[in-house]
């Protein structure tokens, strides 16, 4: 990406020294860093417009409400939703998925049916379905191919008329694999099932168009896309939100309350009980504007270049295995790897001494670890503020690990 040096300057944390070394942050799949524009938007909100939303006629209240609803419009625009009514603000992708579990599937569970997820999912797209499963709905998992994609043939065979939901991650947080969600959408819909996309690893990194994907639900987190913690998004088609039961109950999600009875609010507010994370929405708004200004297609291109470089450098390392597609066009900028004979925690600890932040462990995907036949992995993941130099530092770091352990 042209001007990446200038862009790095927008991220104050990247000036930090870790153990005397410059920070090389390669853990963006866990959470992203924040540009000054986002930090400032939050600060400005608290210093100038902070108030409770929705029910106020005073000036600050109006400004806060406008800022909050404006963020909803910005997000709707980002993923090309039909209307901002289809955007529900939640805490994170995990809550978005739980909302669908509780409000859409739980009421159906006692009468059976089936949910299909995959073995490459993050725990957040597995455990909620086990909960629904415990209420009577079947749960099955599609396997992966040897190319680390979802086995569409097998998936097709699994989906049947009784399938209520097919769900998959758009991009894997371990393998990097970008799944063919348009095809999976078709398989689901051809069988009368709804389709949920876990977009936690895609919306931050590439253009995502819910109308093109034709998904029924899509969930993602603000903190992985330059935004603040504590704010996430559930997109859902209007018709579903209209017919779904509320999730949480309380202030703001109601129209009228008597001791006997409650009329719920219109969508999307029906799903937002209590005072929302207004400053979180304001920060997310700034983050989306920042991403849009660069351009999501440009970000994707930058990450392809970065991934290609990383794959190439990793392939030269002896005794280091990687997991995931080897084609940079088919994966996000996520490299999971293992150094022979060295536990991933030791890899990450030793890299940390060089100022390089990577993740180690099961990456919230224990079933996938099992499927890959490993206990844990080390993972490096890049974003807009990373460049080839960061990858080179990583490779140097891995070489040091190997030397330390005599591998």
């Amino acid at each position: 990406m042209k001007g990446i040096e200038k862009l790095k300057k927008d991220f104050p944390i990247l000036k930090r020294k870790i153990n005397g070394k410059n920070l090389v942050y390669l853990d963006s799949a866990a959470t992203s860093q924040k540009p000054v524009q986002v930090i400032k938007a939050i600060k400005d909100y608290y210093e100038n417009s902070n108030a409770n939303v929705s029910r106020s006629v005073h000036k600050l209240g109006e400004e806060a409400t406008e800022a909050y609803e404006n963020a909803r419009k910005t997000v709707a625009g980002l993923i090309n939703a039909n209307s901002e009514k289809e955007i529900v603000f939640v805490r994170n992708a995990t809550e978005g998925i739980n909302l669908v579990a509780y409000s859409y599937l739980l009421p159906l569970a006692p009468s059976g049916g089936k949910i299909i997820s995959t073995v490459m999912e993050h725990h957040s797209n597995i455990v909620p379905w086990q909960f629904i499963n415990s209420h009577g709905m079947d749960l099955e998992f599609a396997d992966i191919t040897k190319n680390f994609g979802i086995n569409l043939k097998k998936l097709n065979g699994m989906v049947s008329k009784g399938t209520k939901l097919v769900t998959t991650t758009h991009a894997s947080n371990v393998l990097g694999t970008i799944n063919e969600v348009d095809k999976i959408s078709k398989i689901a819909h051809d069988n009368g099932s709804l389709f949920l996309v876990d977009a936690a690893q895609s919306v931050p990194h590439m253009p995502v168009d819910v109308q093109k994907l034709d998904c029924d639900f899509l969930a993602f987190s603000g903190h992985k896309m330059l935004g603040p913690t504590g704010i996430g998004v559930l997109y859902a088609k209007e018709e579903h939100l209209e017919s779904m039961k509320p999730f949480m109950y309380g202030g703001d999600m109601i129209k009228t309350v008597t001791l006997e009875n409650t009329n719920f609010n219109d969508i999307p507010w029906k799903f937002e009980a209590g005072t929302p994370n207004v400053a979180g929405a304001v920060g997310l708004n700034a983050a989306v504007n920042y991403l849009k200004k660069i351009g999501l297609d440009k970000i994707r291109k930058h990450e392809i270049v970065l991934t290609k470089h990383a794959l190439n450098e990793f392939s030269k390392l002896d005794n280091v295995s990687t997991y995931g597609p080897q084609d940079e066009n088919k994966k996000g900028c996520v490299i999971s790897f293992n150094v022979k004979g060295v536990h991933p925690h030791d890899v990450a600890s030793l890299l940390d001494r060089e100022g390089i932040a990577t993740r180690s462990g099961h990456a919230c995907a224990q079933p996938l670890m099992k499927r890959l036949g490993v206990k844990a992995v080390a993972r490096a993941s890049g974003y807009i503020y990373n460049d080839k130099g960061d990858i080179d530092s990583l490779i140097d770091g891995i070489n040091k690990v190997k030397k330390t352990f005599g591998v």
Partner: protein
């Protein structure tokens, strides 16, 4: 304090002196840290209240495996009562490794296993 990856630790990890099984162990405990997949099995032979033999098997990071190896050196030959009274803090001091909070769990895995093994002794 030793560096986490001091020569001594790495040696213990690569060439542990107490690795192995005891066939007719009088106490045997399997302990894991599910968060990282680390595991240790501790085998003890306790005769007349004394730990006469101690071995471990396991999988995990350098810290978890090296500290298991060191722990068994520490307790072999002691009475089970003395071994049981080995406080967490005391063991960490003996280890003498400078540990970050996230890695404490690794270092203490074998100690937890030992305490379970000695519970009713």
């Amino acid at each position: 304090m030793l560096d986490m990856y001091a020569e001594e630790i790495l040696e213990r990890y690569k060439d542990p002196v107490n690795r192995g099984e005891i066939k007719n162990a009088t106490a045997e405990v399997h302990e894991t840290n599910p968060l990282c997949g680390d595991s240790v099995d501790i085998y003890l032979k306790i005769e007349n209240g004394k730990i006469s033999e101690a071995k471990f098997n396991g999988f995990g990071c350098a810290i978890s495996q090296a500290s298991a190896d060191l722990l068994l050196d520490e307790i072999r030959g002691k009475s089970s009562k003395d071994a049981k009274s080995l406080a967490k803090e005391q063991f960490l001091k003996t280890l003498g490794i400078s540990l970050s909070p996230a890695r404490l769990k690794c270092a203490l895995l074998s100690w937890y296993a030992l305490m379970i093994a000695l519970q009713d002794r």
